[in-house]
Amino acid sequence: MHRAALLALALSLGAGTAAAQDMRAFATFRQLHGETRLRAELDYRAGGLRVAPGRSNELYRMDASYDATRYNPASSYDAASSSVSLGLQPAGQGGLRVVSQRQLRQDANVAFAPDVDLDLDVTLGAVDADLELGGLSLSRLVMQAGASQAVVRFSQPNRSRCRSAEILAGAADVTVLGLGNSRCDRIDFEGGMGRVTLDFEGAWTSSSQAAVKMAVGELTLRLPRRVGVRLTLDRFLASFEPAGLVRTANGFQSPGYDRAERKLDIAVTTAVGGVKIEWADQR
């Protein structure tokens, strides 16, 4: 009797939790008509985002599943400037729904033509992002991440030379992997609070400079041994362990820096937290 009562209570508690939301599927793409460059603005406010190289006959593509009560899909191409705006933008109230994280899940997969010079500007809100930029022809990257958890990967070498990669993070957990494949002349990272990992592993084809500014948080620099690394450090209340870097008059450098064919100069400015050095072959 008691079991039956408990079962009835459990079932009644379970009932009424079936809730639905107005999720819609949206897709957009454009055929490649001989374009050689593309300026893409990707504005994504909430949910999961995946970016990867796409088909060679499509200039770009976005497949999204979004909450139509709060967001609208954005997809607008301007042929004159060869630019496209993609993403999900708030429809009036916007924001996050806190009923159930599982129900909220918006997702978008974005792909760009691998052979077209890409000038990519990414703005992320509360997003779980995985950006695979390796294999694209990335000429410039600007990424602004709010309260995001973002992983940026360069798993394959960039197909073209990249002028600069600029990453701005608010209170975010950002990991950038394979920066050596990015072929960027200059890498700028500016972080507010959070945990940041910058992995400089990859097929280095030229020297590069990186400037890293971090207000509060933990910064991990994962360095390759085959590249000469020089590190200048400006810190206030941040800990630092050289981990094999040799102290010089201006900062620290790897033992074979002067003889190295490729050089990486990193300027780190941090206030509170810690700077951790890892060597890529120690993983």
Binding site: A19, D22, T28, R30, S76, A271
Partner: protein, 426 residues
């Protein structure tokens, strides 16, 4: 029985179909073998019996222009699908059973529509309740509602394509513009397509609320026990402050609640104005928040402690034998009393009017006691100051005998008994 008879009839009919086809003069079949056709026909018939088949498409025809005064639907910009959808929802509403819409620089069609391979269509094209098959050239944008777009090899669509409630299939044609699809459309959906959370039933509501109250009670009890273990003296001082100076504690708590945010703002501004303070900002914010939470929570637990202690002592005064009259018991009894009102709300909260009254009363009482507890925590500096706790001065401290002791050289005067200087009541 009826279903099996239907199925048998279907199978018989399906078996007859290929034989009928064989009876005709032999002609080339573009795709599939007879076996594939057999299976396909079978499933088509089964699905039609099950009611899964889509509603029949309307006869292809042109949609006539809307009467003057009705806003037209422009297809020149398809970059905002939801906006177009909203406009079409109003425009495609049939009047007297007839659908009318005006498309500037374009045509509107109802039912399946195709652009032949030798055709060249100028202007935008709207196709409603049908597929758009493009074999030829379309110089403009193409929009389908409740239908697919199929761009065949050699075909050209110079503008954008938008499929609302459909898909775009490019079989090898050329599309000059952007392709967008919204897999579902609300244009022909009921007025309220958004399904909100199911209305919970009374029993499940009661169960959920009871579980919630029980969970909060357990959490507070666990926190209270921790407080007794690690900060018993402080808890007792705050508890005594509530008992002895309830009015004063309540007023202090009220003022504290009012001043919490301004004080926080002043703290932030002060730290920002001092250069070094900026670095401490995150820690200051965290510490301030923690202090407020600790004061509120500790004060509330102290109120529960005071209530339990008062009740227990009264019962003991009445001669009831109580095994262990300690702080743990006081907390459980006090929290139980505080939870009683919320339990009443859990059980009867679904009753119209009365439920709201019970909830209001429970909220008011909880707020009053929490405010007094918060104030007591502030007054006693988290249980450090006993000034308002009404602690009695030890009897030996009231004696004036030490004043009359005969002073003797070489013998220091005895210290006044007691280890504290009373600051109140003297």
């Amino acid at each position: 029985m009826r279903a099996s008879a239907t199925l048998l009839a279907l199978l018989g009919l399906t078996a007859l179909l290929p034989s009928a086809a064989r009876a005709e003069p032999k002609k080339s079949v573009p795709t599939g073998s007879a076996a594939v056709e057999l299976v396909r026909n079978f499933w088509d018939l089964v699905s039609s019996q099950q009611g899964d088949q889509e509603p029949p498409r309307p006869q292809p025809q042109q949609i006539r222009a809307a009467p003057e005064g009705t806003p037209p639907v422009s297809l020149s910009d398809l970059s905002n699908p939801t906006e177009i959808e909203s406009k079409l929802k109003d425009a495609l509403e049939p009047e007297d059973g007839v659908m009318r819409v005006t498309v500037p620089d374009g045509t509107a069609r109802l039912g399946d529509f195709s652009v032949g391979s030798a055709e060249s269509l100028e202007g935008h094209l709207l196709v409603v309740h049908g597929d758009a098959d493009v074999y030829g050239r379309l110089h403009g944008n193409l929009l389908t509602v409740d239908g697919d777009v199929i761009v065949h090899p050699g075909a050209l669509v110079s503008g954008d394509i938008l499929a609302l409630g459909g898909d775009v299939r490019n079989m090898g044609g050329e599309i000059g513009g952007e392709i967008r699809t919204l897999r579902s459309t609300r244009i022909f959906a009921p007025a309220t397509p958004v399904i909100l959370a199911e209305e919970p039933r009374a029993l499940s509501t009661v169960g959920r609320r009871l579980a919630g109250v029980f969970g909060v009670f357990l959490t507070l009890a666990a926190l209270g026990f921790g407080l007794v273990v690690f900060g018993r003296t402080n808890l007792e001082v705050v508890s005594d402050t509530v008992s002895h100076s309830f009015g004063r504690a309540f007023v202090t708590g009220l003022l504290g609640q009012i001043l919490v945010i301004p004080t926080f703002g002043m703290l932030i501004v002060g730290l920002v104005l001092s250069v070094a303070g900026i670095l401490l900002l995150p820690f200051a914010v965290a510490v301030y928040g923690l202090l407020v939470v600790v004061a509120a929570l500790g004060g509330f637990l102290a109120v529960a402690h005071a209530m339990g202690e008062t009740y227990t002592r009264r019962r003991m005064a009445m001669g009831v034998v109580i095994g262990s009259a300690n702080s743990y018991r006081y907390l459980v009894v006090g929290l139980g009393a505080l939870a009683a009102l919320w339990l009443a709300w859990s059980l009867f909260g679904w009753v119209p009017v009365a439920g709201n009254l019970i909830r209001g009363a429970a909220f008011l009482v909880t707020w009053l006691l929490a405010t007094a507890g918060f104030g007591a925590a502030l007054l006693s500096r988290a249980g450090i100051r006993e000034n308002f706790a009404g602690r009695l001065i030890p009897p030996e401290a009231l004696t004036d005998e030490y004043l009359w002791a005969t002073p003797q050289f070489g013998v220091p005067a005895g210290r006044r008994p007691g280890n504290r200087t009373p600051t109140r009541g003297l």
